[in-house]
Amino acid sequence: MSNIRQRLPVHVLLLLAGGLSLFPLYWLFLTSLSPTQYVVRVPPEIVPRELTTGNYVRLFETTPIVRWLVNTVVIAGVITAFHLLFDSMAGYAFAKRRFPGKNVMFWLVVSTLTVPAQVTLIPVFFILRFLGLLDTYPGVILPGLADVFGVFLMKQFIQTLPTELEHAARVDGASEWQVYRHIIVPLSRPALAVLAIFTFQRYWNAFIFPLVILHDPSKYPVQVGLATLQGEFNTDYGMLMTGAAVAAIPMIAVFFAFQRHFIEGIRIGGVKG
């Protein structure tokens, strides 16, 4: 079923749509490779006239970008890892298990998704101060673990898993934890992969919370660090774009690392070939 000629219009359509969406990313990399005086060129140029790696050299030499990247990998990585565990647990409970207060709790959780970060910023700051976690990595990580969109996502996915699998496992003598660990988790691999990608990206780009909670510049994650390249009197666009380009690379890597799970997810009742 992969007759190229039959699929040609589809391919053309997809390429056009994808191209338009990809344009900003292309622009980003283009700007990062352009000599500075062309960065704020008016009118802007789509086809590069001149390419140079000068911005990259300058970025690595004059800013602590490596440190920023390491910090961000640690923060986003830890948050993602814990989310994979906690969200699948909670998602499973909400999807498949019955317990008193379940609906209330679920609605509580989902409804607070509507509250923007600006509203919780100051109260969270004071809670962290009370706990003595200001200017620490846990202070940035813990609020990130309270983020509930992942629970919602896992619940939606897990609820589509056939219940007889769990029943069968229990009849065979599996404990509750084993049901979760050996039935639910493997079947949720595609959703977990998506969750990993989304979570990592969300916290990779975190800005306002780390900025307010962290004081020590050696702990800055990459978005906060890059923002310091925007001056009161002048902005170095070349460096800014280059920094953003460098920052984009780990996320691309994470995507490719996890996306193979979409295809490998084995399902009882049907295998997508």
């Binding site: 005086q37 704020v40 060129r41 008016v42 004059t62 800013t63 602590p64 440190r67 910023l121 100051i122 700051f125 004071f126 101060r129 800005f207 306002i208 900025l211 307010v212 004081h215 510049p217 050696s218 906060v224 660090g225 923002a227 310091t228 390249l229 925007q230 001056g231 009161e232 009197f233 002048n234 902005t235």
Partner: protein, 450 residues
Amino acid sequence: MTGDGAMNRRRFLQSLAAVGVVVACGPTATASPTPGTSASGSPAPKAVSIEWWRRNYAQGTQSAETITSDAAVKAYKERASNVTIAIQGGPFGAETDQKFDIAILQAHNGPDVFHTTGGDVLKYAAAGQLSPPTLTDAERTDFNPSALNATTYKGAVVAYPLWIVPWFEYINLDLFKEGGVTPPANGNWTYEDFLAAAKKLTFKRADGKQIYGFAHANDEFAFMLIDGGRPYDKDLKTWTFNSADAVSGLEKWVALATAKVMPPDFLTLNPNDSQARFLAGEVAILQRPSAMINILNADAKWKFGTNWAIANFPKAKGEQTAWGGVGFIAVREQADADKKAAAHAFAKYLTGPDIGPDLKKQTPPVEYWLAPAGRKTAAGIYGDYHPAKATVATMSPFTYVLPNVRTWSEIDQKYLRPARDAALEGKKTPKQALDEVAPQAQKLLDEANK
């Protein structure tokens, strides 16, 4: 300042103190008399450490704020060796403002001395978080009077004016030549000359490139002052920005839009954009503050006097004044008297006449003043940095800084800017637009005065 021997000895003693060794030699730390030190110099100053918060300070980067701040701390160490200063920063922007606010207003904790701008300083004063400077008469007259006025809260000066950022016109001499317009003599011109020049300088080249006569960013409203209009009366009690003078000023501004001498996106140009247009040679006259000089100097293509020059803001009915914004150094009110005193001393140094020369003597020399100083005795060195800055330095004494009220930010963003936009777009007449927002502005003004 002192011979090498004394310097080394002082450093040696400092390092001993740092490892906790008690030095039994008595008051030896200030062996050398340092001229111009602050009022808090006592014979045996004890070690104090204070925290300085500086927007856009980012350790490890090369931003101007980072370089000048590090240099300032280094220089101050030589004058007051007992004071250790730690610098905190954050990228320039509203998020860092929040960080400052949370620390100062909510947590009552944080910097001992910090940078702030006109909009924020009164906010902090109203919350009782600022420790007012004690200025001698000589110092008081040394400061630009309208700058002091802008940091006066309920009759008391609450912060040290750091620098005044005057706004004026940058002109592209090449475009003036191309359009056949003579640049104003001595930089002075009337509004009529200015408008005529802008019209003549808006043309389309043979190759299709469109040149515009004038551009400005969306963060200012200079033209409303041009006929003498002012936001409030002298007591800051009555909103007067819909007076006949203010309306006629806005009409002069709208005339620029009607004559289409500005680029079509003039309503959305933020500072960076407007600067980029000028740099690209698309705009003949640009209205911006003094920081643009650094940007032009950084580009080898632009040579002051050859292809760009500075002109004054055009003159109409109002008295010719430069007008500007102002940055401050504020000291936080706190219980620790030693820290507070040290913070005041450091603040005086940062805003005073000594720091410029001190930093110039460092290797490599650092240009401390990013804009002309608020004090006359400190302003001169700014002019030494560059001939363009010399012109600008002469503007600061007569630069009029708009007086400040606590709710100005809200009045500006919620009411004044939309009114300005509506008038410039031609949706409302200037009088209509300004009259409509006057009652709300007055209400906010009343609230600030409560």
